[in-house]
Chain length 252, copies 2
């Protein structure tokens, strides 16, 4: 086991622990390619010291500057931070593990895609961050609350989720945002009939990005909210989520 | 000449007439591929009746719903609206005219790119639309003023361009927006050394999008403002604009 790649993920009180959309993207990169690895779960306060120990670079994405996922590859003694960097590393280092997630020429396009995709995620964060607070382990709750409440101007996470008419409005905004992603999918090859971003049969990192966040919604939001999302845009999001279930497997 | 493809463009008082970033993208698609064509210039009030006459679909992008560029191909009796649709049409209909501008698999990624790119353009519109008013022909000025002032809440175009500290702030915002595009370019193949979005040597539609707007800035903004832009991010925008000068040719 000591020679396996290690995926560092964030611990929680869920049976399978994993919940983070960002670490999900790295796991999908590994599982879609079929690359053997094992998972090590960390609490938030363990992330910075672990990254420093294995030589993983800060991403600037958290209060400490260090964030997960991080992949450690003992074969090359390399630690990679950030899910798209992990996907690029796997494409280059394990070229016989197909599919290529970021096909030649599309790296810059994938980075632009990630920014365009992130621009519609605010409603998801508004619903999913408070729901995530209730599943992180007690030792991480104060950190999670402090850092996530800062994103909402210090408002208590319990008071962030809109209700009544404000919920109806934000839910519509959420659906409209996913409508933009759907519009891109409908421009894919095969006249938009294909389920994946770059074509009918082959998963690319763009799909992994989308499903990473769908998985988060599916894991932390209630059944009714998730089923609503799953049915938007002709059921595209439910089908995509389902197509990725076989890559959910957490290997410990 | 009657068997040539026809690119419909917007007339102006400039010697070469063309100024629109959108019609520039269609011209670049034709000229990068080396596809023979001729240009017909229209005033704004002629766009809708011409589109209806040749069977070009509305794009929803103007007061009338019809906009340029439109490409008419007498060989297939087809009229195509919208610059990316024109690029896709040329890729499919003239496959031996290389390069392929939207390589297989990247269509949805290009649409997402266009949305991500458009998200940083507000400062450019703020400076370039008032400057464009002074070059459209007298017969089109009232239409141009009415429709463009509506984008700024009815404010007179003469009062839209910020001055003093407000100019300094917006110009910084403009540079920061182009910084995002630069960050994507720096992720391209060849470790970011290549000048083009999908790699070192091959122009794709993403480059055409970027240079379409650079050409507009270069055409309508004053020399000082353009030279400032051209020097941002290690001179990337000046080099890109220069690399495309050989594709500027307006064929009438």
């Amino acid at each position: 086991m000591s020679s396996s790649l290690i995926l560092y993920d964030i611990a929680s009180s869920l049976p399978e622990q994993t919940f983070s959309p960002n670490t999900a993207k790295a796991r999908y990169a590994l599982n879609v390619k079929g690359i053997p690895h094992r998972t090590v779960f960390l609490e938030y306060h363990e992330i910075e010291p672990t990254c420093k120990k294995i030589g993983a670079k800060p991403t600037g994405d958290s209060a400490t500057g260090y964030s997960l996922p991080v992949l450690y590859d003992p074969a090359t003694n390399t630690a990679i931070s950030d899910s798209i960097e992990i996907a690029r590393y796997l494409d280059v280092t394990y070229p016989s593990s197909l599919p290529v997630l970021i096909p030649k020429g599309t790296t810059a396009l994938h980075y632009a895609f990630i920014d365009a995709h992130a621009a519609v995620l605010l409603p998801l964060y508004t619903y999913a961050l408070p729901a995530t607070l209730s599943i992180v382990n007690p030792v991480s709750q104060a950190y999670f609350r402090r850092t996530r409440e800062a994103l909402f101007g210090g408002k208590r996470l319990e008071d962030v989720v809109p209700t009544g008419e404000a919920h109806v409005e934000m839910w519509k905004e959420f659906e409209a945002g996913f409508g933009k992603i759907d519009a891109w999918y409908r421009k894919n090859e095969n006249g938009g009939k294909g389920e994946y971003f770059m074509g009918e049969d082959t998963i690319s990192y763009a799909d992994i990005t989308v499903v990473g966040y769908l998985r988060w919604a599916n894991t932390v939001l209630g059944k009714d909210l998730w089923e609503d999302i799953a049915g938007w845009h002709g059921g595209r999001w439910g089908r995509l989520r389902k197509a990725f279930e076989k890559y959910d497997k957490v290997i410990v």
